[in-house]
């Protein structure tokens, strides 16, 4: 550490420590009186401070919620069959092959002409795995 910088750091540490101790020596009434001087209105200072705390609580709550959503989404994605990770053309080929059996042709047509989204296709593939019509990799069981 550069000695000048180290010296400045020590000076600022001493300053912080001394002020910190001064704050401790003030009674509650003196703190409120200080707020009236510094903010013009102690009530306003108190309200602002409550808002600062509430702001952090709200932000942390939102972050926790988003993290929970991400974890849920990851769980859902992780629970899906391997077949949904295949390229789109291969997914369509799997559906066509299955539909060529007892499945109706409408689904195949919808998938082929693009009126079904890839999400729809993935859901269908998941269902086919659950029904035992294909295995995890999209092959006939």
């Amino acid at each position: 550490m550069n000695s000048d910088k180290g010296s400045a750091c020590r000076q600022l540490n001493r300053l912080a420590q001394a002020l910190d101790q001064q704050i401790d020596t003030l009674s509650d009434d003196e703190i409120i009186a200080e707020a009236a001087v510094l903010h013009g209105d102690a009530e306003k200072a108190a309200r602002e401070t409550r808002d600062l705390i509430q702001g952090v609580i709200s932000k942390c709550g939102r972050r926790r919620l988003e993290a929970a959503r991400r974890a849920y989404d990851a769980q859902i994605t992780g629970a899906r069959s391997n077949v949904v990770r295949l390229p789109l053309e291969r997914k369509l080929a799997v559906i066509e092959r299955v539909a060529a059996g007892d499945f109706g042709k409408q689904l195949t047509l919808a998938a082929r002409n693009g009126s079904a989204t890839e999400t729809d296709i993935d859901s269908l593939l998941d269902d086919l795995v659950k029904l035992g019509l294909i295995d995890e990799e999209g092959n006939e069981p």
């Binding site: 550490m1 550069n2 000048d4 910088k5 180290g6 400045a8 750091c9 000076q11 600022l12 540490n13 001493r14 300053l15 912080a16 001394a18 002020l19 910190d20 001064q22 704050i23 003030l26 509650d28 009434d29 703190i31 409120i32 200080e34 707020a35 001087v37 510094l38 102690a42 200072a45 108190a46 401070t49 409550r50 600062l52 705390i53 702001g55 952090v56 609580i57 932000k59 942390c60 972050r63």
Partner: protein, 188 residues
């Protein structure tokens, strides 16, 4: 043989509830403590205060409030720890600026001597700017310099002769100026 009882900690819900029970004086004292600790951290006091609450809520670095420690005392320690670590961090940064020791006049705000490009603050410039803050008040400036140099009250009053009342008033002006300068983001 008795095993020592494990220390109990407030969970997030209990910590939030405890924050809600703080008195106005508790909250304002915490906020002023944050402003006192802010110089050299690159943060304003209000930012430091919120950062401490956030780290406590998110239990960052394993920070958890023990059930037997009052929340204001816990948060005060978190703020002290953050402030000290930030100043140390900036003190350790190796400057690449050949004019590092220059202290150009006209910085907009003494707490924000922040090089945003490098996320670097120059502690020496903050000390210089603090001294400038009291340029028109030699008694408060003597309190500042004496405090930073760890002088006794007698030594401070040798630098700038003051009777007891004048010394107490100078300390008050010094404290209020710092709280005002390093508290809120931006000037009122």
């Amino acid at each position: 043989m008795h095993r020592p009882a494990e220390r109990a900690y407030l969970d997030t819900t209990a910590f939030i509830a405890a924050l809600g029970t703080l008195t106005d004086a508790d909250r304002i004292r915490l906020r002023y403590r944050a402003a006192s600790l802010a110089p050299g951290t690159g943060m304003q006091g209000d930012d430091l205060f919120q950062e401490a609450v956030r780290r406590a809520l998110e239990r960052e670095d394993g920070r958890r409030c023990p059930c037997d420690v009052p929340v204001p005392a816990f948060l005060s320690n978190v703020m002290r720890s953050i402030a000290s670590a930030e100043r140390e961090k900036y003190a350790r940064q190796v400057s690449l600026d050949p004019n590092d020791n220059d202290c150009p006049a006209g910085d907009p705000h003494p707490s924000h001597v922040l090089d945003s490009a490098n996320a670097r603050i120059d502690l020496q410039r903050i000390v210089a700017r603090l001294e400038e803050l009291f340029a028109d008040d030699p008694q408060a400036q003597a309190v500042l310099i004496g405090t930073m140099e760890n002088w006794t009250p007698v030594e401070i009053r040798d630098l700038e002769p003051m009777d007891d009342l004048q010394y107490a008033a100078a300390r008050r002006r010094f404290r209020r100026a710092i709280l005002n300068e390093f508290g809120k983001d931006g000037k009122k």
